[in-house]
């Protein structure tokens, strides 16, 4: 099983996929961006967030 999947992955990588490592430097995982995001969340989080989440009750559906 392990051999099979490794073979597939290396084959795919040769064809067209960017190396996985490229994702690790994408903005989504950049620490500075995360800090900016946390600052923004402090601004947009409901001011009464704790009460909002406590009173959030839905009826079951489907």
């Amino acid at each position: 099983m392990a051999e099979r999947t490794h073979r597939q992955r290396s084959r795919e990588s040769e064809v067209e996929d960017p190396p996985v490592a490229e994702d690790s430097v994408s903005p989504a995982s950049d620490r500075a961006d995360l800090d900016d995001l946390l600052d923004e969340i402090d601004e947009v989080l409901e001011s009464n967030a704790e009460e909002f989440v406590r009173s959030y009750v839905q009826k079951g559906g489907e």
Binding site: E12, D17, V20, S29, L34, L37, V53, G60
Partner: protein
């Protein structure tokens, strides 16, 4: 030979009213009626032919719950010009996308549905007291044990015994959450402490109690047996999937639909023998969800213990074999190529560097946010403010939505979403439904998934049946619609 995987999504949205009475049934009706008034139309929807309790296993199973007469009323129920159905279901606003031909189209009309909900929230403000508002969340649980669904539908051949579908698809429904789980703070499994799991992969996994069954509101099954095809029942089934989360990430929705469509096509083409059978799917779906380190293993009937990613590599292998032998036409060849590549990248990313998937996997994006926020403010991982981040990730108000702020990759442009708010897909019968509602709204008495009823004047009402999901496309009918100034002329040209 696999048949085209015509598909669609149905999403029930969470709803609350701030600053006025919080009655979810009334608020859902107000939301939809405000939208219809805003766009200047309303249209009937004929549910007389619906039979949601028909069972694919050919057995009759009475509901364990008597229908609640108040909640069973359908106060608002309409077909839109984009071919979608917008209605109140139980105590939630629900949007069913039009039938589409590919996973990429499913993403586009799913996003259009979100945009319609946003426009509805804005329109409803005019009907509410000053300062009051209706807030809609695209999520699946309130964190207190109440769940509502995001369902998928796939056209499958009636020729394939339902047991083959169950055996082939269960491992996928159990393990696909690694890329399409929406993430959840806390635990809602019956009998478990709400803090027993700090963060889990899926919104829905806690609510599944059966492997196979007809119910959708209680004792929820991983494979739902509702047998209501809304098309020719001799040729088709509509596989009604309830074991999924509503996604904010377009990639997650895309992969959820594309991978499922490919596995179903592989089952139809007799290639499902390589898919492992699980000893206890109900336990497995929870065990996987409750372990965001992705190291939990589940037991197969061969005695193997596999992680969700190992199951997914095997399922990817089955889909690749299907693609190589049969081509990808059943799901759209370009979409299949794109999906196989993306599926492989996501599994590899989750295996080697999970956080790198924060731009396309909802649970990873949400977990990254909640962990960092708890760390910065010295909070418990299940603190009320962390639960609030979980909830607000799904808030559809642009000024509040956290999913909009985490850098999720887009597959569909804003202009494609906006045009899909009013226009139907061209590749299924939804084209005919939507164009008729655009052009002959005053002559449409009722519109359903598989028929439209016209009032053409002095004659009796004319019902145009649409039993074939792939007829009524732009390719087949654009000219006829173009050349028919009135519904009467349209009906005449269609030869009825």
């Amino acid at each position: 030979m696999a048949i085209p995987k015509v598909c669609g999504l149905e999403t029930e949205f969470g709803i609350v009213v701030l600053g006025a009475e919080n009655n979810p049934v009334a608020a859902s009706g107000l939301l939809i009626n405000s939208y219809l008034a805003d766009i200047g139309r309303s249209a009937g929807f004929d549910t007389s032919t619906e039979s949601p309790r028909r069972d694919a296993r050919m057995i009759h199973e009475p509901s364990v719950l008597d229908p609640d007469p108040e909640l069973d009323l359908v106060p608002v129920n309409t077909m839109l010009t984009n071919g979608a159905r917008y209605y109140v279901d139980h105590a939630h606003p629900e949007m069913s996308t039009p039938e589409v031909r590919t996973a990429l189209e499913a993403v586009r009309w799913d996003r259009a549905g979100e945009e319609i909900l946003r426009r509805s929230m804005r329109a409803a403000k005019g009907s509410l007291p000053e300062g009051a508002e209706i807030i809609v969340h695209k999520n699946n649980s309130d964190g207190k044990g109440n769940s509502y669904g995001c369902h998928e539908n796939y056209l499958v051949s009636r020729d394939v015994p339902f047991g083959h579908i169950i055996r082939g698809i269960t491992a996928h429904f159990v393990s696909r959450q690694v890329f399409c789980g929406a993430g959840k703070v806390g635990c809602e499994a019956v009998g478990a402490d709400s803090d027993a799991v700090a963060f889990q992969i899926s919104q829905r996994a806690d609510f599944f109690e059966e492997e196979v069954g007809l119910e959708t509101t209680v004792r929820r099954p991983i494979v739902n047996t509702r047998d209501e095809p809304h098309c020719d029942p001799d040729r088709y089934r509509r596989l009604h999937v309830i074991a999924g989360d509503a996604n904010m990430s377009e990639t997650a929705t895309f992969l959820k639909v594309a991978t499922t469509a490919m596995i179903l096509a592989a089952i139809e083409d007799g290639l499902s023998a390589g898919i492992p059978l699980l000893v206890d799917p109900v336990r497995a779906i929870r065990a996987i969800s409750h372990d965001p380190t992705l190291s939990a293993t589940v037991e197969t009937s061969d005695g193997d213990h596999l992680t969700a990613l190992e199951l997914q590599w095997r399922l990817l292998d089955v889909a690749r074999t299907w693609f190589e032998r049969h081509g990808g036409e059943a799901v759209g060849t370009d979409v299949a190529t794109m999906a196989l590549s993306e599926w492989e990248q996501v599994l590899a990313g989750l295996e080697t560097h999970p956080e790198s998937m924060a731009d396309r996997v909802d649970w990873v994006a949400k977990q990254r946010l909640t962990v960092a926020y708890a760390e910065r403010h010295g909070l418990s991982p299940v603190a009320p403010r962390i639960r609030a981040i979980d909830l607000q990730y799904h808030d559809l108000r642009p000024e509040r939505c956290l999913a909009d702020r985490v850098g999720l990759r887009r597959l569909i442009s804003d202009s494609e979403v906006n045009s899909a708010v009013s226009d139907p897909p061209e590749t299924t019968r939804a084209y005919f439904r939507g164009r008729c509602l655009q052009k002959y709204a005053n002559s449409v008495v009722a519109a359903n998934w598989d028929s439209i009823v016209f009032d053409v004047g002095a004659d009796p009402l004319r019902r145009v049946a649409m039993a074939e999901p792939l007829r009524g496309t732009a390719e087949l009918l654009a000219n006829v619609l173009e050349q028919s100034p009135t519904a009467a002329e349209l009906v005449r040209r269609l030869g009825r």
